[in-house]
């Protein structure tokens, strides 16, 4: 029922757009009717043009996201469990973390050129900090009782890490990861808008440049669907991983 009313609202919005555009209240060239965009969207999707471009963007985003997870996850857990390491790194992290990822694109272009290396490193930069902060918080807030029990049973360090800290930090780490997912897509698209020759960001820019406006909107729509799909997939995956967790069940997850 809830889902149905959501769909009704969506259809109503599309209807308003269609009417506003058809009535000529806005420039029909810049705001083509939804039906026109939908037809172009379908055509470009069936022909494989948009899926191919979106696929490239998706691959870059996933590669950057995973690299960030591999880098930031362990570092965050280490910082969350070691006061000394945390004291050492926190000032640097807090200084760099607020820098908006798009702002590092010009610098990355100067350092790394305009190739895949530049794009990936900017995505890694964007995803690194949400994951790091999630991991630090999660590891820091492991209940002291768990640690004491683990110590009483003489657990080894790796046993402590994989048996106690990682599961306890799971929801917080997952929250950081979920924040990083849309960031990865956003930055992947942004990085494709400078000096790229492929990817959905490049496609949208190119269509704007050649005044192919319905095609441009179709590209944007694909991005929306891609983002939605990624979010759903990540939520499903995390629910499966963390479904047993009280904190996750009690609303940290949702």
């Amino acid at each position: 029922m809830k889902r149905l009313s959501g769909i009704v609202v969506l259809c109503a919005l599309a209807g308003v757009w269609e009417c506003v555009s058809r009535a000529g209240l806005v420039s029909k060239l810049y705001f083509p009717p939804v039906s026109t965009i939908a037809a172009v969207f379908w055509e470009l999707t069936v022909s494989g043009t948009l899926p191919a471009q979106a696929g490239e963007t998706f691959a870059r985003a996933v590669a950057g996201l995973l690299a960030a997870l591999v880098l930031a996850g362990p570092l965050g857990l280490a910082m969350g469990t070691s006061r000394r390491l945390s004291a050492l790194l926190t000032p640097a992290v807090e200084l760099v973390r607020p820098v908006p990822p798009p702002a590092v694109i010009p610098a990355a272009m100067l350092l790394l050129g305009i190739g895949t290396g530049m794009k990936l490193s900017v995505i890694v930069f964007a995803c690194f900090f949400p994951i790091l902060v999630g991991a630090v918080d999660g590891a820091r807030h492991v209940e002291p009782g768990f640690r004491l029990t683990a110590a009483a049973y003489g657990l080894r360090r790796w046993q402590l890490l994989f048996g106690v800290i990682l599961p306890a930090a799971g929801p917080s780490l997952a929250a950081g990861f979920r924040t990083a997912v849309p960031m990865a897509l956003i930055v992947a698209v942004l990085s494709e808008m400078v000096g790229a020759s492929s990817g959905i960001g490049h496609y949208i820019l190119r269509m704007q440049r050649t005044f192919a406006i319905p095609e441009m909107y179709a590209g944007v729509a694909w991005l929306g669907i891609l983002g939605l799909g990624c979010n759903l997939a990540v939520e499903r995956g995390l629910s499966r991983l963390l479904g047993w967790h009280e904190g996750w069940k009690n609303g940290m997850g949702r």
Binding site: S27, G113, V194, G195, R209, T210, F211
Partner: protein
């Protein structure tokens, strides 16, 4: 009480309008800060706009593909664009037309564009660029059409060269980094890179396919705007035509103005190739560009050049 205050404020706005109308209405014009838009600087410096009763407010922008939306939206009345962007916009149903010519290219005489490669590049011909990456300023513009034509002439597939968008000032850096293997750029960047020894010319006339002369770009507006503002459109066209005549007659002074207005080193401004600035719109200078755009799929089918010319009688 707040309602009364609001009403008074709104009323004052209406009263303010006639007061403003006494002064010349500001005419918003978009241009690109490169040598191709020299007319704009000259018309300002020499007071041609003011002499025509125009209070021109200029906005320096990145390229025709960015200026066009601003003209369509009404933020700008008149803009400068390369010809291909206007050709494509027309094909997509935009109501644009050139009202005055901008820069014109004459093959062999005043090539303002050049295809550059790094000075140490092993490449000696365009054919060698197959599978390589070349920088152009904006996608889907006159330089993309030119690159496709160059590739075909060199005997490789028109889309065998990868094109990426890099702003003109960043192209030399992108070449030095190895991100791109060549760059289609224009003055003053050609003379700058070559005289610094950073680059060499791979093709000195990359726009030869358009025929000669060909219109590089011009001043355009919405046809509806031209129809509603015939006096302003004519005045503007006259002012830039005067500027064209001035550049023709006083190239040294024109170079000085360019150097001052674009912060270009005077030595460089003295050395660069200047485009030719015609005083009248010639449909023939446009049809070659339309044909090439159609040949390489930027345009579905060619159309008569007259469709995008709306030069007011001067």
């Amino acid at each position: 009480m707040p309602i009364a205050a609001l009403a008074a404020f709104v009323l004052s706005l209406f009263l303010a309008v006639p007061a403003l109308a006494a002064d010349p209405t500001p005419l918003k014009v978009g241009y690109i800060p490169v040598g191709d838009c020299l007319q704009y600087y000259v018309a300002e410096e020499e007071g041609y706009f003011a002499a025509e009763g125009l209070a021109v407010a200029g906005a320096a922008m990145k390229g025709g593909a960015v200026i066009a939306p601003a003209v369509e939206g009404g933020e700008l009345a008149i803009g400068w664009s390369n010809t291909v962007s206007i050709i494509l916009a027309h094909a997509k149903g935009f109501d644009f037309a050139f009202l005055a010519p901008g820069a014109e290219g004459v093959a062999g005489a005043n090539d303002v564009h050049a295809l550059l490669v790094p000075a140490d590049s092993p490449l000696t011909s365009v054919a060698g660029l197959a599978g390589k990456t070349v920088a152009i300023n904006t996608l889907g513009n006159i330089n993309e059409a030119a690159m496709r034509a160059l590739a075909q002439k060199a005997g490789i597939a028109p889309d065998a060269i990868r094109l990426v968008e890099v702003p003109f000032p960043d192209m030399a850096g992108a070449m030095a980094k190895g991100s791109v293997q060549a760059a289609l750029t224009l003055e003053p960047f050609v003379t700058d890179a070559v005289s610094r020894g950073a680059a060499k010319v791979l093709d000195p006339s990359p726009h030869a396919a358009f025929g000669s002369p060909y219109l590089i770009g011009g001043w355009f507006a919405k046809k509806a705007w031209i129809k509603d503002h015939p006096a302003q459109a004519t005045a503007f066209a006259r002012a830039v035509a005067k500027a064209a005549a001035f550049i023709d007659a006083n190239p040294e002074k024109a170079r000085q103005i360019l150097s001052q207005r674009t912060k270009l080193a005077p030595e460089l401004a003295a050395k660069i190739v200047l485009p030719r600035f015609p005083q009248r719109l010639d449909p023939k200078a446009l049809s070659g560009v339309i044909d090439v755009s159609a040949r390489f799929g930027l345009l579905a089918k060619p159309f008569p050049a007259a469709e995008i010319l709306d030069a007011p009688a001067q």
